[in-house]
Amino acid sequence: MSETLERAQTQVGAPTETDSFRPKRPISDAVPLDPWYVVRMVLFGAYAVAYVWWFITEGLIIDRISVGISVIVFILIGHLGRPVRRWGWLLFDLACYCVMWFCYEQSRGWADRAGFDLQVEAPRNIDRFLFLGTDPNVWMQRQFYDPKTIHWYDNVASTTYFTHFIFPVIAIAVVWVTSHREWARFMKRFASLLIVACAGFVLLPTAPPWMAADRKTYHYQIIAPLARHTGRGFRDLGMKGFVNQWQSALDWGNAVAAMPSLHSAFSLFVPAFFLPRIKWKWLKAVVLCFPVIMLTSLVYFGEHWVIDGLVGWTLVGLSFLFWGWFENRQRRVRAGRARVILGISGNIKPVVAP
């Protein structure tokens, strides 16, 4: 390591020690507490209590309007007492956010109008190639699905499936309130993923396994019959209203938007974004099990092909890689400009030993 770096670390990197004999006092001792901070914390507490009360009495919030209202209330509480400029940012962010979801919803219409060929056999063939001739959806249902009994793993898989409608929204709201910059980082990656996924839905409409196996409505019958029992486990846990609303939402959803799987993608996206903030390796490993459980559940329910999930994960990886590269480049350029003007060289470049 270069001498300059060592000097920087020992002399400059370390905070000054001039008054080390004097006990340090926190800056909060000298600055009055923001009164709005107390207001925000009290209201967040009330919000949490109200949410739990609603969950117990009415069930989980799922419909878009209720979810939207609850998120907006949460964000408004988080911005109470903030400077006017911060509210301006909030309005701009909100406009971008709405445009993003509007485009996402519109992609359904674009997909219908574009009229690209429906992919039915191709994803099945890829899955068979990956699993040496076996249809993973069929195999999993034969091994684990019991039409008469709801097992614990049905509850786990169904709950995991429905977290798709909750976790990303919570993550966005929390990041929005805590740090505008982090929200921007989150949304850049998220919007990129969504745009590419929508392009996939338009250009590559793909029949999901339950449709490919259907014998009543679609008559594809290219794999053995599959049961679409996604909501069963969650309904068994008492979330009947949630499941019913999800089923009614299926009527106006894009049934052939299987490639890529956003369930699979979001289940990796949220943990991946927060992964660098997790200290313990064991917890990181646990968190990374979540997308695996999600994809397994999707395959078990016949909602997606394995390749759909893998493509979803790949897109998440590409989104993170691209924005990571872009942000690193920006930092490098800005740091370089300062160094050139001040005539200093970068200390962190590795020195290759002769």
């Binding site: 905070p15 000054t16 008054d19 800056i27 600055v31 006017v84 400009r337 970068g346 200390n347």
Partner: protein
Amino acid sequence: MKQRPILIDGGFVAALVDDDHSLHAAAIEIYGYLIDEFQANRMRLFSPSTVLRTCSRDVRRSTLAPVETMWVARQHRTAAKHVTAPSADVAIVMVLLQRERCRGLATTDAFYDQFDLAVYRAGSGEPVGPAADQLPDGYFNYEIEPLPARQSTGE
């Protein structure tokens, strides 16, 4: 990885951009380290909008390119009136450190050494003002300048 936010105060910026400043060399050495940390994504560098407003567009885009603006709002100025500090600028910096959860400061002023902060100080001079515990009881009521008219800061 979570980046540590570091606030760069007006004295440090002045030493950095002024070639004739007595602490220019020391400020550059510290700033070089901060830039390295910034590039390695371990730090985010901020300076109050009141300080950056005094710098030219060229300086903002070159010397201070890695530095983001930390906006000084009316509520920060109001809170600063109730802070015991040697000057209004120091009071505002302390409010920003507290409200924006900065735990690091690049400065030329030894006044901040008494606080539980990571202080990156150019020079080892005496405090510019008296230590807070030497100030008389009660509040220092500064005549803080009114908010200036909206103007471009070069961003």
